[in-house]
Structures are given as structure tokens and as C-alpha cells.
Amino acid sequence: MADPNPFLPISQPLHPTYTSLPDGTHPSGSPATHSLPSKKLLLGIFFGFLLVFLFVALIGDHNGSQQNILSQEDENVASLASPKETAKPETLRPISRGVSAGVSEKASLISSGSESSTDQYPWNNSMLSWQRTAFHFQPEKNWMNDPNGPLYYKGWYHFFYQYNPHAAVWGDIVWGHAVSRDLIRWLHLPLAMVADQWYDQNGVWTGSATILPDGKIVMLYTGSTNESVQVQNLAYPADPSDPLLLDWIKYSGNPVLVPPHGIDTKDFRDPTTAWYTSEGKWRISIGSKVGKTGIALIYDTEDFINYKLQPQALHGVPGTGMWECVDFYPVSRNGEHGLDTSANGPEVKHVVKASLDDDRHDYYALGTYSELNSTWTPDNPDIDVGIGLRYDYGIFYASKTFYDQNKGRRVLWGWIGESDSEVADVKKGWASLQGIPRTVSLDTKTGSNLLQWPVEEVESLRLRSNEFDKVEVKPGSVVPLNLDAATQLDIIAEFELDKKVLENAAESNEEFNCKTSKGAAHRNALGPFGLLVLADDSLAEQTPVYFYVTKGRNGTLKTFFCTDQSRSSAANDVNKQTYGNFVPVLEGENFTLRILVDHSIIESFAQGGRTTITSRVYPTRAIYGRAKLFLFNNAIKANVTASLKIWQMNSAFIRPYPNTR
């Protein structure tokens, strides 16, 4: 049985071989304490070649003979799969292509909903500086993308991130670093890692931390080498007694992993946190693709230096393309508490998550992990990874969880990009946010999805509150909510639909989809109803966040949760789509939502976090003191009764850590 605390070089003196060699040759010398795996590497590549083909074949068989395993489903629980998402794993997903349909949020801004071709919006400094958030993590300037290596250590939460020190656009990527006591009030620290080795010269890319049982930290991350090959590298704190973990050492024998045979040199990135197997090995996953099949490769290691590629991938789904930022973790079947990444047993389900390069969305699926052959099987193959549920139906990518051993919870970070034009980003000098960290747990009521909820520490930012009890909102009406301000809010709301109208409403076979609908203008007898966020007095600018209820055959109600950006701004260079998805509303439940408003970001959570939508909005009028909040009900028939509690939110005063060099 291997030592669960594998030997790791602790602090080593800096050494001339750390500088990158101009001709790209690998430094061959290494301290005598660990062996160079060169022979093993060659053998590994040879067997890897065979094994890649073996497991691709096995995936094929695996999917073919897959039983449709449904987890405990209550009769009253409507299926989570909306019409769009019941595609079979074999068919190619209808992925939008090119500029006209738009893969990235920046695609086709002109044609996505703005009707009048107005002057280019004259963004002024007042409008642009309003866009900066008060309590969301963002560096002081420039570009950020993926969250990296989140962890808790010696009293501090650490957050690392992909950062461009030179521009407000992706490029020259290095690791930024910040610390916090509470996941909310962050203090910026100096860069943790820069591109100073041949093996990460073209990018110090995404990675994850593993905390060993003895407290040592192992960081694995992807480097893009001087020849743009994607490799995995090992790094660790220079001084484990420094709670700020300011300095990091890159293992002198890097890279520890190179692309195996059969895997393209540019399809091998984003190593996960490791989990410990009952055989005494550590196991990690790295996303990739074979043809158009996205897969999660598995490697076993005892020392984080030598690795063995496992014959079978953890899982793969045809047609989903490259799997970036793979995440794999256990959730408890019984409750909200989080589980260490190595937890396993009958009380545990496992989540596989992938960020799809093809459509820039994060997908997850629940299933069962078999440690024996290191494979995972989805509970419901119809909503397998990449073709089923998303963490968030707005902008939310490259997300990563970590187990917070301080509070016994699993916490999710997600990168929230911009959806305005580059010209605005260049003007304002920054781009991207992180979402408010969320706890993740199994929804024990439905059993078939996760729940996400902002970490409780965000509530410490709450200042004064306003309560509105049972406000009646008649069909086709808008009710202003009298607040001091409306740009930094925490809103909790509950809605009740007119029961009589609900019962008597006609059945329809409407196939609703937030994205293809007319947004908040799309009405039926029962809705939409919700809130108009960041609206100005004249309602020329508004961002509706709302429920839309349909009544299908047999009287079954189906509820959708959407955010409509079509009128979010008078500017014509911002995304104006409507985001959203189906949300399960169980027997006896009212419609509940929570919205965090923080300047140019709106994060919405329906039914306790069953469906979430993150939106970036850039109003030109509904800013500062002119921003307002309204209740609305655009139903044709039904009255809606709303009860709300709304807090003004304080700033988190995110700033540089005092006195660090």
C-alpha cells in the first residue's frame, strides 16, 4: 500500500536549470532523489498508443449497452430534460457555428435582437466605470479567465486565476493570486507563477490543487511549451509555513506528463484535483478528445511525478468535442454537506463535469463511479455530460470546484466573461469577473440535479433591507419597488400564481425555449412574471428575470426560468439574447428566486438553486441612482402575488494585500 503522503521535494534552492533553454531541449539533470522516467515514458507512450485505441473501443461498447438508469424519481417530478436536451448521445448536438449563430458571446451582436441601428454607443467614463463590480472577484485591471487551484490553507482561502498582465484581452497568460478569510473579501497578492520555463513559455494554463493528508499542497497545471505542446507540470509552495503561499516552486523534472500517443498535442489540458483510491494510488483526470468524442483521461500516480495512463477513460461522450476543465467529485446522497474529493461509498454519487470548447458552456451529469476500472456511468444517458444539464444557463465557463475542509462544503468557482464589444473592454481597461462562489450539493428532492447557492458569507455584505409582503401584481402590470438604490442588491422573492386561473388555464402544446422566445414580451395566460432588474424609470432599459409557466397535456405544469437581455441597454454593441432553461417546481412549492445584482453582473437562482442564470449587462441609463427595481407580471390572465426581502449590499473592498512586495 503506497504511502498516502508521497515523498515530494520540499524547498529546493533555485538552480540554473530553471531557466528555459533557447533551443528547447529538456534539462536532463535532476536531483538524485527522484528518478527520471525516461525509459518508463517511452514504454508508457508505446502502451498508451495501444491503450488509447482500446478504451475508445470500450467507450463505444459502453454506450451501446448502456441501460437507462433512472435514479429515484418521484411521479410528481417532471423530467429535467427540456425538449432540446433529449438528443441521443450519438447524434451531433445542434451546435451553432460561426459568426451568424455565434459560439462565443461576442458573436453577432448586431443581429441578436437590437432592432434599430442606432449610433455606435458613445461609451463614456461614467458608464464604463459603473460597470466594475463591488463584491465580485476581479483584478484591478486587464483580462482574467479560468479559476485555478482554489484551496483553503492555514486560515486563508486561496484563489488563483488565468491573467493577462498586459491587456484587457486573452494573451500572455500567467497565474494571478489572491487570498481571503471568507471567500468574499479578497486581497490581491503578487503573481504566483509566470511563463519562465520552456515547458510553460507559451502559457501557464489551468490547473488544480490537491491537499495531501499531511497538509502538503501539490499543484498540477498545464503548460504550453515553447513549441506549443500541452504538458502537465508539478508545482508546490516554496515555503509551506507561509500562510499566504506567496512563492511557488516548479518541479525541476517538469513536465510530469506529456500527451499520450493518439492524443493531439493541443488536446491535453486542465488536470483535476487528485482523489485517493482504496489501492493506495492517487488518481487524476485530464480532458481531451478523440475525433469529436470528448473524453476524460485517467492517470494513476503515487508521487505526482510518475504516472500511469489507465486503459479506460473515466467517460466520454460522442459529438461533444474537446472537454476542457474536467471536474470529478463526490456528492452526498443525503445532505448538503460537502465531501472530500476522495470520498466514496454507497452514500455517494459522483459528478462528472466538462467545459465544452465547442459551445463555451459548462455541463455536468450525475452518475456512479466504479473505482475498480476507474469508469463512471451516468444515471441518465439522455442527459449525459455535454448533452444535458448545465451549471448555469448564462455566461459561466471553465468552472472548478474544491472541497473546503474549513466548513465541510464543496465550493464552485466559475469564470464570467464579458458580453460587450472589445472596443468597450479596451476603453475600460479590464475584462471578466468570477461568479460569487457557490456551494454545490445534490438536490435530494429531485435526485437528478445539483443545487447551487451563493456561499453564506456573501450575506455578511447585507446592509439595510426592505420587505414587501404579498404584493399583488395584476396581469400586464409593473409595480415599482421603492428602494434607496438598485445596483448592489441581494433579492429573495417568492411568487404565487392565481390558483383559479392556474386550474382553469387551457392546455397547450407550446414548446417553449427561453432563447427562441420573445423574452419577457412572450406571454400566455400564466406568465411571464418576475422582476425587472437594472431598469430606468421609463423602462427603456430593463433586464427581466422571470418565470414562464406552460400547461401541457394532462394538465402538467412546466416552468421555465429566463433572463431577457434584449432591452438591457440602449447600446447596440452588447449581447441581447434571452438565457434560461426549464426549472423543476415540485408539488406544494411556490416559485422562488434569489438574485444578486452587482453593477454589470446579475446572478439569478430559481427554486433554491435548481436552475441558475448569470448575465452581464451594460445599461447606459439604468446606472447609479437612476437604476430601479420593478415587479412585473406580463401574464394575460393570472394575478401574481409576490413577497420579497431585498438587501442593499456593501462593497467587499477587494484590494491589494497591504505591504506585499
Binding site: 457555428r97 460561426g98 459568426v99 453577432s108 451582436l109 455606435q120 484581452v169 500572455d172 504550453s224
Partner: protein, 152 residues
């Protein structure tokens, strides 16, 4: 033995078939001798370089026009901002992303470049002196985006 020239022309044709402006794609790529030995990533880089050349020409023209048409100073200066964003942000991002192996950011850059050209054009309410320039930048950017899509 197969004809190398034929299979390379085939590669260009196959790649361009998956883009919205086939003829433009073929003529642009064929005009660069490196394209005959390039893989899809190489073709994407060539196309991005063409966008850069077109955008540079456009910005040059805009700067000249600003002097000659003082009545159009406002929309022209917005256009200068658009093209500045293309040249200082979108193109470098696309080139770096393609070279370093994270193509989705190249697609972001190409998509944004097309949008910036559209935004510039929209400023003139139909009476644009830059239509030809904006169209070529839009179309070559859209082509670059579609080529990058094939790498994802």
C-alpha cells in the same frame, strides 16, 4: 503517387467549404503561397493575417478621411476606435491563441473583429464611405472564425 499540388488545393477547398464566403476564402488563401503547405491551423493563421492587413488599410483610410470630411468626424472617430480594437486586441489575441493552442480565443477575436466592422458601418445610417472596407473586414473575419471552428 498523388499530386501534391492537387491535394493541397483540395485542403483549401475542403476548409473553405465550411466557411460562409467560399470564393473569398479560396482566393484569399490561394493568394498566400504558404497556404499550399498549411494545415487547418496554418490556414486560420493566414486568414487572420489577411484580416490584419485589411484592417490596417481600413484604419489608414479612416485617418485620411477624418481630415477630408470634417462633417463625418464623429462616426469616423468611432470607427477608428473599432479598428484600433481590432488591431490592438482582436488580432494579437487570435494569433497568440492559434500559435499556443487554445483556438476558442482565436474565434473570440475573429468574431469580435467582424462585429467591430459592423458597428463601424452602422454609424453612418446607410451613407457610409467605408462600406467596401467594412465588408471585406467583416467577411474575412467571419471566414477566419469559421476556419477556427474546424479546430475546436
Amino acid at each position: 503517387m498523388f499530386s501534391v499540388a492537387q491535394s493541397d488545393a483540395n485542403m483549401i477547398s475542403q476548409t473553405c467549404k465550411q466557411t460562409p464566403y467560399y470564393n473569398l476564402c479560396v482566393s484569399c488563401l490561394s493568394s498566400d503561397p504558404r497556404s499550399f503547405k498549411a494545415d487547418v491551423r496554418g490556414l486560420a493563421l493566414i486568414m487572420v493575417n489577411i484580416v490584419k492587413a485589411k484592417a490596417t488599410m481600413s484604419l489608414h483610410f479612416i485617418n485620411q478621411l477624418i481630415q477630408r470630411r470634417p462633417g463625418l468626424k464623429k462616426p469616423l472617430s468611432y470607427c477608428a476606435d473599432n479598428y484600433d480594437a481590432i488591431l490592438t486586441a482582436d488580432i494579437p489575441e487570435a494569433v497568440e491563441a492559434l500559435q499556443k493552442g487554445d483556438p476558442k480565443f482565436a474565434q473570440d477575436g475573429a468574431n469580435d473583429a467582424a462585429n467591430e466592422a459592423d458597428l463601424c458601418e452602422a454609424n453612418f445610417h446607410g451613407k457610409s464611405p467605408l462600406t467596401k472596407f467594412n465588408k471585406v473586414v467583416h467577411d474575412t473575419s467571419a471566414t477566419a472564425s469559421a476556419i477556427v471552428q474546424q479546430l475546436l
